[in-house]
Point group: C2
Chain length 409, copies 2
């Protein structure tokens, strides 16, 4: 097995993630699969907190995803706790898997004096193995005793506990302008599901008072522009989960600060999403693909995603090869309206193609210089309308193959 | 650049491809991009021959694709010649590219005494560079003088001339039962477009008498079950072209032998399609993905394609890792109806999963033994209906990265 090194695209250090009033965090080493590290995270929320969720579009969902959907529907978006384990995804585990997640929710609820339906659960790790619920039960006393305010050091410990193949913990926060409240969150993920220990999870919190309906709307819109705009390998997990919890502890209602809440939430989700890309398996370059001139924004997104998912584009980027013909091919296969004879392509600031032809005076050397860096910008204008979108990805390298070929043994 | 070695999945030798009466072939070295090899192929057809075409679904089509569509529409499916060059795709070349293909068709037509619209043209190679038509013109006299019956050695030379990154020439033939006629064809392709020198081209011929409408119907149906069921890297070329030419020289009408024509045509297109997969860039394993139990055949194909395109599945296969959790995840993301709790999965003859759970008694060792071979069969039953489909692919290895990262320089 390849030695795990921190991604070359990682931030220098875990940033200072702001305290969110009302949230208490704890982590513990339950020994579910890993040894020598924490693998369970508990977040406690005050009574009356709102919780909204966005889940994987996979049709083969893991049991905790089914549970969270059921729980949020039952409570109409209220929650008292979030418990997350790493090392076992509790996916492809049938009815026993659902009983396991229900058991965990009941245990946590009992320990905190909350109904089971107000306990959200997420699991990430191997697929097809029964979740050892006894180990989580065994860790629960220590977790509850260890609950402490969600301050910068607690966020970092929580982010580390939920990681699997992640090479660095991921956290971000932003103040809600005009209020004393903050939005803060943690995430994990280093491939869409790759290898099968990985999954995208994110837990975002605010001390603003947000009603469940508003929380759902804000979260859905924010996820659409962040976590749904990244792709490492085009693979989707059975367990992808994003939760937003609002404690209301700051006393300020979101209804008076909605635009500011949205801005802070978007900043946090986009930051976390970009950190996931920066931890993409084998990634050596962070790549922004921007498409303009599409029929509409959805068409632009589809084209940008096709470029970002193209193995040929991604291998060319890994080699700093200004092979824009592969971008043309990706645009062509996206199935969206594009005018071949009005297509323009930029690599960094260098325009390669203009009006469907190689641009006279195009400097491959200048394009290559941009590609030799580790922050890459590709821009394609498809010449038919006003739609635009950006998608973020990373390059495809030997490291990806190393990590994913024969990982388990 | 990596040294090019013949794919480990290549046939031992170019098979004996049957003569097709009426077809004459020639090849020449025009020096378009390569040196020391033939890079132009001319196929001459007798007057009155039918030609049908199926082309890339890319919206950024190359000029020769536009020309062929226009020519076949103009002649209602008649043709006298097919000329193919390798080394330059004449793609992303704007109006000049279209003039270049028209010029080539006119030159060939003049040399053979045929209207330009009865000359079909295909090009494969680099994108965004002007086609050096003078070099094709210069080779034309020799090509016409060298035309000879399409016998086994002529087929092999023709197959070699149209190749780019191919590591072996691809040909196949089958008799049309109950007649003296044959179906024979050649193809090139070693990635969907990967690297940008590659594209899927296939030219199939029969000496049965087939009217243009029947030729179109038979070809479309056959391509749907062969070339459209393979995937190397999910990338689509700007130039993909399949042509079927029927000379009628055998004197037997297709209308009396339609089922036999279809059977022979399907055998040839599937054989050629599988040869393309066997030349997949970096491929070390030939993989058949069969899906049953889907809502309908189209749903089954979509699920099979998602499994076949998953980088995680393909890297696991490269490592002979029986990581069926990745197959579950791929099924889940396909967006087609599947019953997670009735899902069954086989690797070779070994059933891994049954009814949405790991099968009791599943032997990972037996599954791994199958995966250590180079002919892999995956079978997934999704438990909701009668739809079924097969898709063929190869594994994803370091070789793919080697070939595609920085190929051009």
């Amino acid at each position: 097995m390849t030695e795990v090194k921190v991604s070359p695209l990682a931030p220098e250090a875990f940033g200072v993630v702001s305290t969110v009033a009302g949230v208490r965090l704890a982590t513990a080493a339950a020994g579910i699969r890993y040894s020598g590290r924490d693998d369970v995270m508990l977040a406690e929320l005050p009574s009356g907190s709102s919780v909204a969720g966005v889940f994987t579009r996979s049709l083969c969902t893991a049991a905790p995803v089914d549970w969270c959907k059921h729980a949020l529907a039952t409570t109409s978006g209220r929650g008292r706790a979030i418990i997350v384990n790493s090392g076992n995804a509790n996916a492809f585990t049938g009815a026993a898997g659902y009983r396991a997640v229900q058991h965990t929710a009941e245990s946590v609820g009992r320990a905190l004096g909350a109904p089971a339906h107000e306990v959200l659960v997420a699991s990430t790790g191997v697929i097809g193995e029964d979740l050892p619920t006894g180990r989580i039960d065994g860790a629960l006393g220590g977790l509850v005793a260890g609950l402490a305010p969600a301050d910068p050091s607690a966020w970092e410990a929580a982010a580390a506990a939920i990681g699997t193949t992640d090479t660095f913990p991921k956290g971000a926060s932003a103040p809600v302008a005009g209020t004393s409240a903050h939005v803060a969150g943690i995430a994990k993920g280093s491939g869409m599901i790759a290898p099968d220990m990985a999954t995208m999870l994110a837990f975002v919190f605010t001390d603003l008072a947000v009603d469940p309906q508003t929380a759902r709307e804000c979260l859905a819109a924010s996820v659409e522009r962040s976590f749904n705009r990244i792709t490492v390998d085009s693979d989707t997990s059975t367990s992808d989960t994003v939760l937003l919890a609002a404690t209301g502890t700051s006393g300020q209602p979101a209804t008076l600060h909605l635009a500011d809440l949205r801005a802070a939430l978007d900043a946090v989700t986009l930051d976390l999403a970009h950190q996931i890309v920066r931890d993409g398996e084998g990634a050596t370059k962070f790549v922004a693909v921007t498409v303009t001139g599409a029929a509409d924004d959805a068409a632009a997104e589809a084209i940008a995603r096709t470029v970002a998912d193209s193995p040929l584009v991604k291998t060319a980027l890994a080699a700093s090869d200004a092979n824009w013909g592969r971008i043309v091919a990706a645009v062509g296969k996206a199935g969206q309206r594009a005018d071949r004879d009005r297509l323009s392509i930029w690599i960094g600031d260098e325009q390669c193609a203009d009006g469907g032809l190689p641009r006279p005076g195009y400097s491959e050397q200048r394009a290559t210089e941009h590609l030799l860096g580790d922050e890459i910008e590709l821009w394609v204008d498809v010449g038919v309308g006003d739609g635009e979108a950006a998608v973020w990805t990373c390059d495809l390298t030997h490291g990806y193959i190393d990590i994913n070929a024969g990982y388990r043994t």
